[in-house]
């Protein structure tokens, strides 16, 4: 064991020297040619999978980078893998070259020194990213410090079938009252699913008179008191949930078929355009619309990051940079493709590029950026972890 440690210490600086320098973009391009990038990204959404395949064909065309989408059911799997590789001394060519990540998982990887970088702010396309208006330099309040690069903006929207639920609700309190009047017609993904945990945070952000406490880490002292209204809320809501809260959909997209089947009238999504995309793919009826709460809803950015032990860092940076290109961003925003919000500053790109964005038909169920209200900040990740754990103890085991 001791010998291994010495060996690792000897090898480590060499590996560091061999890392590509993002500021020298020509060298990055040269090195990236022919590299295979294993992008670990959640694989449960077929539209996302299709988009990633398109990205793969484009970076292969322009840069000779081969992109392989490793479909995850849970992003934490990728984090575990890198961690396990580090323990096993696999420091040079790990299985993972890039991860679609944010929030807790990013915080964990950054904390454990599992990331390559900083690289994000040296990428050529960083110059057109909207750093002023969009939360692309902090991830759930944790500074990104250039260790991850943004590629999509997400915001909580509520998805309702107007055939059964014609009117939107303006607050979480109103949602509870509606659910009590219409039992069995609403559900949310089971935490610790990303969207499910987001729902918990959204409740808390909306019902707390002052949500600013959430931007600091949760403490043993304040957690119970701050979260108490949430549990009271859920205790009232749960009996009125779909299946009386004895079962939950696994993910956000798993709720769309339930709306299509008329099992649910209302669900949530983290992608303002997803409902329109689903309508185009026959997954939702065309009576579906989206809304946000009066006080706005939580929003955040989706990032990609590169593990410290990737053997294809240059290739990964090529992909990360391409994801921030106007071409990729416009395609991602097209509801017929993905319907994700762009991270770009519309004033920083050329008129021609802007015209592509302006020409997008956002779809009947997509709110225009102006109608999405205030984007509320994500709470500190420590809240998400505690809330999800607490939820599992309260509602995730035998009731």
């Amino acid at each position: 064991m001791k010998h291994l440690a010495i060996l690792a210490a000897l090898i480590a600086p060499v590996a560091a020297i061999a890392d590509p320098n993002p500021a020298d973009w020509d060298a990055v391009k040269a090195e990236a040619k022919g590299q295979t990038v294993y992008w670990n990204a959640w694989g449960g959404s077929t539209t996302t999978n299709d988009f990633l395949a398109w990205v793969g064909s484009r970076v292969s065309e322009d840069y000779g980078v081969i992109l392989e989408h490793v479909k995850l059911t849970n992003t934490a799997d990728a984090v575990t893998r890198v961690l396990a590789e580090k323990q096993a001394g696999e420091n040079d060519d790990g299985a993972i070259d890039m991860i679609w990540i944010n929030g807790v998982n990013f915080a964990a990887m950054k904390e454990a020194d599992l990331l390559f970088g900083p690289y994000a702010e040296q990428l050529p396309n960083w110059s057109v990213v909207d750093v002023a208006e969009k939360t692309v330099q902090s991830d759930f309040t944790v500074p990104t410090d250039g260790f991850e690069s943004p590629w999509a903006m997400a915001q909580v929207v509520f998805v309702h079938d107007t055939a059964d639920m014609p009117e939107r609700v303006g607050s979480m309190q109103a949602l509870l009252e509606w659910a009590q009047a219409n039992p069995g017609r609403f559900s949310y993904p089971q935490p610790p699913d990303f969207l499910g945990t987001t729902f918990l945070k959204q409740v808390l952000v909306d019902i707390l008179p002052d949500a600013s406490v959430l931007s600091a880490p949760a403490t043993d002292e304040n957690y119970a008191e701050v979260s108490a209204p949430l549990w009271a809320y859920l205790d009232a809501l749960t009996p009125n949930l779909w299946r009386e809260g004895k079962a939950y959909p696994a993910t956000g997209t798993a709720m769309f078929p339930l709306i299509a089947d008329d099992e649910l009238d209302l669900s949530i999504s983290f992608s303002p355009g997803a409902a329109s995309t689903a309508i185009a793919n026959f997954e939702l009826p065309d009576t579906v619309r989206t809304f946000v709460l009066d006080k706005g809803t939580i929003g955040n950015a989706s990032f990609v990051t590169v593990p410290y032990n990737s053997g294809s860092k240059a290739g990964a940076m090529i992909v990360a940079n391409f994801l921030m290109s106007p071409e990729a961003q416009a395609r991602a925003q097209d509801p017929a493709i993905l319907g994700y919000g762009t991270v770009l500053d519309m004033t920083a790109i050329t008129a021609d590029e802007r015209a592509v964005f302006d020409g997008l038909d956002l779809g009947i169920a997509t709110l225009s950026p102006a109608d999405r209200g205030t984007v509320q900040a994500e709470p500190h990740p420590s809240w998400a972890t505690r809330l999800a754990d607490d939820w599992a103890d309260r509602y995730g085991v035998a009731q």
Partner: protein, 586 residues
Amino acid sequence: MIGRIVTALRSKLSTDVKTRHDHKSRRVLPVLPAITLLAMLGPVIAGLYGTILPAFGHLPAAGLTGPTLSPFYDLFDWAGLPRAVMLSVGVGVGATALALTIVALLTAGWSGTPAFRFLERLLSPLLSVPHAAAAFGLAFLITPSGWLSRAVSPAITGWDRPPDLLIVQDTWGLTMMAGLVIKEVPFLLLITLAALGQADTGRSAAVAKALGYGRLTGWLKTVFPRVYAQIRLPVYVVLAYSMSVVDVAVILGPNTPPSLSVYIVRLMSDPDLAMRLQGAAAALLQLALVIGALMAWRIGEAIVTVLGHRWIMSGTRGKIDPIVGGLALTAGIVCAFLVLAGIVVLGVWSFAGYWSFPDFLPDQLSGRNWMRFGPGTVEALGETALIAAVVTLAALALTVGCLEAEYRYGLRLSSRGIWLLYLPLLVPQTAFLPGLQTLMLNIGADVGRLPVMLAHLVFVLPYVFLSLADPFRAWDVRMGVIANALGARPDRVLWKVRLPMLLRPVLTAAAVGFSVSVGQYLATLLIGGGRVATLTTEAVALASGGDRRAIGVYGLMQTGAALILFALALIVPAIVWRNRKGLRYG
């Protein structure tokens, strides 16, 4: 342990080989049984070793050293544990008992009748339908908005929207149990049929009938004890499998909390490393549960034997036979129907445009879903087929080598040794695969296709061996004596006489092995490190997204991949031996 077995085999070999004279293949053939045992048991034992250490807090790679019991304390602190354990045990024992009961009563009441032959023909191909595909099919049928509900709505039920009923993912795991039963009934039925062929059952049943016993009661009293002795180990396999299954549990099982196996997989993939220790502890608990359940089952057997003896002594002739037989036949047909209709509904979803409740069929059918997901499935199909083909060929080579070594050198497994064959199927996957993954990482073995193949081999080998051993041994050895006397060397006898004559069983064994490999979920997921995407891992990954059109496409492809070799195993011998009457029914 493996070392002892290998040494024992070797010392046996050295004495045997001296007295024999097959110079050419002396080097390779006699060590094949040892290699086979190593391939089958090595990963299991290594994996268990890799599980035990972290379960007691020992994970040096993470700077944690044991021994400590804290992983177990953490595990027992989890509020969901009692229910997760109950699910694991309840679903496992329930599914096994139910499937065995259906099969026993079905065979008792109907074997030898046209209805039975029909059901047998219906169920045999269903054996190869992957568990995940059958589970998806079942879910698509029986959810409140499923196909069965659509078929009777709103005409009969009056439902114009689905009722809010907890059917799939129900708290007690009943749907999960059903999903297992519909897959285990074909398995146990075929195993029972094979056992029937070996026991002299026809005459016993006839005698019982002549003594005035009902068909079903007579069979149960005279034949079943002998048959059960033969199918005991496969029943244990079903029990161990049902208690620790992951993919079916993910698709059909509850989540508040999930079954123990699903919880283990979840712990093993948590970014917090401490969770791995708890996961290892849970894996050991799973192992203990399976061992405990097997022992309890064994005691149950003894009790049933006593009760059965009393029942036999009572001399009752079986007045309610027709009712019980009718129920059993109905249950058998329902099982077959649920799997078959499940595959059909997967097919309908794969072509579905918009399809709202309570429409029986989609608004429009289109090839759009296949255009979207087809290319992805083809890629996964290539990976699946490559792995399955290599693993099946390796398993066949090892199995034929072992059986041939048994024939030439008498290296036969004792009746105790048969347990070794079943061991990889009796140790819960969730107990040793995570440990194996950790170990492989520690020794720096890269993830990827080859380790996945080796992991698949652990599960494929026993099935290939068990399905080929009987026909291989049943081959008339006088054919070999004749061929030897005609001047043919042992290798020539094997290649030119024995294997051609055994073409059909060899292909059937290959088909069994192939479908087992196609259906592997956990081994592919954990050992492949996510880089190896087969149809099964892709399909289960899609389960969380709930896109039924994509699941339809993948489920159908998965089923097709598993079935194709069974079709070939029927067609190829029929074509190759079309002019050989003596082999047509072989």
